[in-house]
Every structure is written in C-alpha cells, then in structure tokens.
C-alpha cells in the first residue's frame, strides 16, 4: 500500500533530477556558459526587464484587481465542496436515497451562497 507512494516519491525526485540535468546541459552549451561561444555584451541592457524597448517605469509588483481575491475565495469554497463530494460519490450506491437527499441539502446550501455572490456581481469581471 505505502510502497505505491514510494513510486510517486521516486517520480518527484527523478523529475527534479531530469530538469537539473537539462539546466546543466543548457548551461554547458549556451553562449558565455562553460563551453559555449564567448561574446561581449552590455549586461545592463540585455538583462533589463523587458517592456517593449522602453525603460521600465516604477516597480512591477503593482496592486491588482480585487476580482482575483473574490474568485479565489469562491474557488476555495467550491473546492472544499468537491472534497466532500468525492467520498459521497464513491459510496453513492451504498448510501442510496438517504445519502442523496443529504447531499442535495448540502449542495443547495452552497448554491444559495453561489446565487448570492452572483447577484452581488462578485462574478463580474471589471
């Protein structure tokens, strides 16, 4: 049982290993890398933040739209709903009508909140 998840762990470590190998290969052969072509360049121009060729104005870590927060909050609510839905779905046939009615009540309560958010235009992109 648990050794199945050992495979998952090995896939995680192997994936990181493959990526690092690719990075090292890139570093070896890329210009100004270990073996790559050498050339001179103006570092402050090449490595500046890209902004259509003009100089960057201000910081790039600016304030952003409140809509993102609202979507994130709604997402958390619905994701937790699905976490409750999955165990119910697995034993749906065993629980029968009683379990189904309980789940309908649960979904209905969530949908009331969803309808409220919809009516309050939390889902409206501005």
């Amino acid at each position: 049982m648990l050794e199945q998840y050992g495979y998952v762990l090995v896939f995680l470590l192997a994936g990181i290993f493959f990526i690092l190998m690719a990075f090292i290969t890139g570093w070896v052969f890329s210009p100004n890398g270990l073996l790559g072509l050498r050339y001179k360049y103006k570092k402050e121009i090449l490595e500046d933040t890209y902004e259509c060729g003009v100089e960057t104005q201000g910081t790039s870590w600016f304030r952003f739209n409140i809509s993102f927060y609202l979507y994130a909050l709604l997402f958390v609510i619905f994701d937790i709903e699905t976490v409750f839905l999955y165990p119910w779905a697995v034993s749906f046939k065993k629980l029968g009508v009683f379990g189904f009615v309980e789940m309908v009540v649960f979904i209905a309560i969530l949908l009331v909140g969803f309808a409220y958010a919809w009516k309050k235009e939390a889902l409206k992109w501005e």
Partner: protein
C-alpha cells in the same frame, strides 16, 4: 499473444534476472521505480516531440500550408532540431528577478505534470502504480501547475509576466472546479477512484461512459483545454496583449520546460479523458476479434482526443477575459452540478433506491 500485460511480465522477468545476475536482489525495490521513471520520461519526451510536430502539421493542414518538411522525413526531426536550438540558446536572466522562485518555477511546472503519469493505465496491468485514489491524485498533482505559473509571473518582476500569471491563476482555478465536478458522475456509477477500475467497469457494463455522460465529457474536454492554457483559452499568454504572458522573461532551457510541461498536461488530461469516457485500452465494439494489443487502442484514442484539442486551437477565436470567467462560473459549473443531480435521479429511476 502480444498484450501489454505480457510485455510487462517479460520486461520485469528480464529485469529480475539481471538483478539476480548482478547480485542486487535486495535493491530491486529501489531500482524498479527508478527504471519506471526513466522509461516514462523517455516515452513522454519522444511523445511530446511527436505531438509538437503533429500540432504543426495539423495547423498547417488547416491553413492550407505544408508545414515542416525539411528536417528529416516529413519534417519529423524538426522538433529535435528545435529542442537542440533551445538547449544551446543563451539563458537571459533579468537582473531584477526574485532568484529562488525564478529558478524553481520551471521545475515545478514540469514535475507537477510529470508526476501525473504515475497512474495512467496504458493497458491492462501496464501502469506504473494503480493507486486506489487515482483520479483524486491526478487532480491534486496537476493542480500544482497554477503555483508554478503564479511563481513564474511574480518572480520575473515584469508587468506582462505578472498580469499573465494572475490571469492564468484565475482561469485555472475557475476551470478546475468544473473539471473536478464533471468527473463525479463517473465515480458515482463505478464506485471507485482507481483509473483501471473504471476501465474494468466499462468492460463489464459493455458501454463507454461517453454515451450516458456526453455532457460530462464535453465539460471535461473544455475544462482540460482551459487548464492546459491552450487556445481558445490561452489568455495568460495572449501574445497580442501580453507578449508571452508568464514566461515573457524566460528563455532557453527554462522556457523549454514550461513548453514541455504544457504538452505533458495536454497528454495527461487527454489520457484521463480516454480512460474515463472512451474505455481506455478496450477495443472498439465488434472489433475485438482483431487481437490488436490494448495499448495500441489506448494510444489511438489518445491521439484522437489530442487531435480534438489541437483542432479547437485553430477553429475557435480567443475568448476575452470576462467572457472566459463568465463561461466557467455561470455556464460550466451550474451544468456540471445539474449533471451530478440528474445522474443520481436517473440511477434511482433505473435501478431502484435499494442499496447494492
């Protein structure tokens, strides 16, 4: 007879014979997963290269062009040449970047989708590990891509990258909900989360779930396309508005990793769609006398679904941000909830309310 199961038995028999010859039988539990990871990486690398070539040919066909035809036969080696080109390109790193997240983001983007390959059943018994929570595992693991994209957008210290990252995060989490909800009816009918178990159920039932659950299939394909940031949902990297979106400041190998991760995400979600809705490795009805191995059927169906996703890209115009969010929240999520309830009601009407 050549089936996937026989091949696995043959390979594992050969491996264990080799272990015994080398006298490392005690280490077999460590070496097996490493070999399966290497094999899966090799498969995915070659398959993604083929897919990039296929996408170019498909798009060329749809635009009455020829497409790549110079490097190798039919241009098949074009992607190899591109991969080499990306590897030897200079890795331009902006000075203002946030160093550690900038480095980690492409790693997460690749590894998160690569780990999803663990539970994909290619044939009966041909699966790295058939976890009993297979679907939940895939959804959880592929959900990490949003972290990679948000990290990349934030750490680049670039306005386009940041906006692309935000948009992408909003889009992915919105469509994640409908993706997860569209799978629930299948689990209700089969009563299992294991991907192989779902295919076995379809074999016993004698039909594929695309017939009773066509609505869920359409929702799943739409959400999977949006999850992989592919057109018509490619707002995060809408090149006419945001240059390159979250990977504006990435170049060379690091950009290649985002690219690879995106294609693996397409492969994984298409493989899940094939397993859930199109019968996985099962042959087409009335064609099982041909004795074609199961993994050939699986790959054929996989390529069909991937072709569908590629065709979306060249047949639909790109959505606007507000249209995209409206479509996700106000159309797909209500439909998928109604689909769950309707499936339950129809089930009770057909089979009675009794426990079984």
């Amino acid at each position: 007879m050549l089936t996937g199961e026989n091949i696995v038995q043959l390979v594992s028999g050969l491996l264990h014979w080799a272990y015994a010859q080398a006298g490392i039988s005690s280490l077999a539990g460590v070496i097996d997963p490493i070999i399966s990871a290497v094999v899966m990486f090799g498969f995915i690398a070659v398959f993604v290269m083929f897919l990039v070539w296929m996408e170019r040919k498909v798009s060329a066909h749809m635009q009455s062009r020829i497409g790549p035809n110079r490097v190798g036969p039919l241009g098949l080696l074009q992607t190899v040449a591109d991969a080499i080109k990306l590897t030897i390109k200079e890795d331009v790193k902006p000075v203002n970047r946030d160093k550690v997240p900038y480095f980690i983001a492409p790693i997460v983007a690749f590894v998160a989708t690569f780990m999803g390959m663990v539970v994909i059943p290619f044939d009966k018994g041909v699966v790295v590990q058939d976890l009993n929570v297979g679907i939940l595992y895939i959804i959880a693991i592929t959900g990490f891509t949003v972290i990679a994209i948000l990290t990349a957008g934030w750490s680049s210290n670039n306005k386009y990258a940041l906006l692309g990252g935000f948009r992408s995060a909003a889009q992915i989490i919105s469509y994640e909900v409908s993706l997860v909800l569209s799978v629930v009816p299948i689990i209700m009918i089969t009563g299992t989360l294991s991907l192989s178990g779902i295919v076995e159920y379809q074999k016993q039932a004698g039909y594929w779930f695309i017939l009773p659950q066509i609505v869920a299939f359409l929702i799943f394909i739409t959400s999977a396309t949006a999850e992989a940031n592919r057109a018509p949902f490619d707002i995060p990297e809408a090149e006419s508005e945001l240059i390159g979106g979250f990977h504006t400041e990435y170049s060379g190998v690091k950009f290649a990793m985002f690219f690879l991760g995106e294609y693996i995400a397409v492969v994984v979600s298409s493989a899940v769609a094939v397993t859930l809705f199109l019968g996985g490795w099962l042959p087409l009805p009335y064609l099982d006398f041909l004795h074609i191995p199961g993994f050939v059927w699986f790959l054929a169906k996989l390529l069909l679904v991937i072709y569908l996703i590629m065709a979306f890209r060249w047949t639909f115009p790109r959505l606007r941000v507000d249209q995209l969010m409206d479509f996700g929240w106000k159309v797909l999520i209500p439909i998928s909830i109604i689909n769950i309830l309707a499936t339950a009601v129809v089930w009770f009407c057909l089979y009675g309310k009794g426990a079984q």
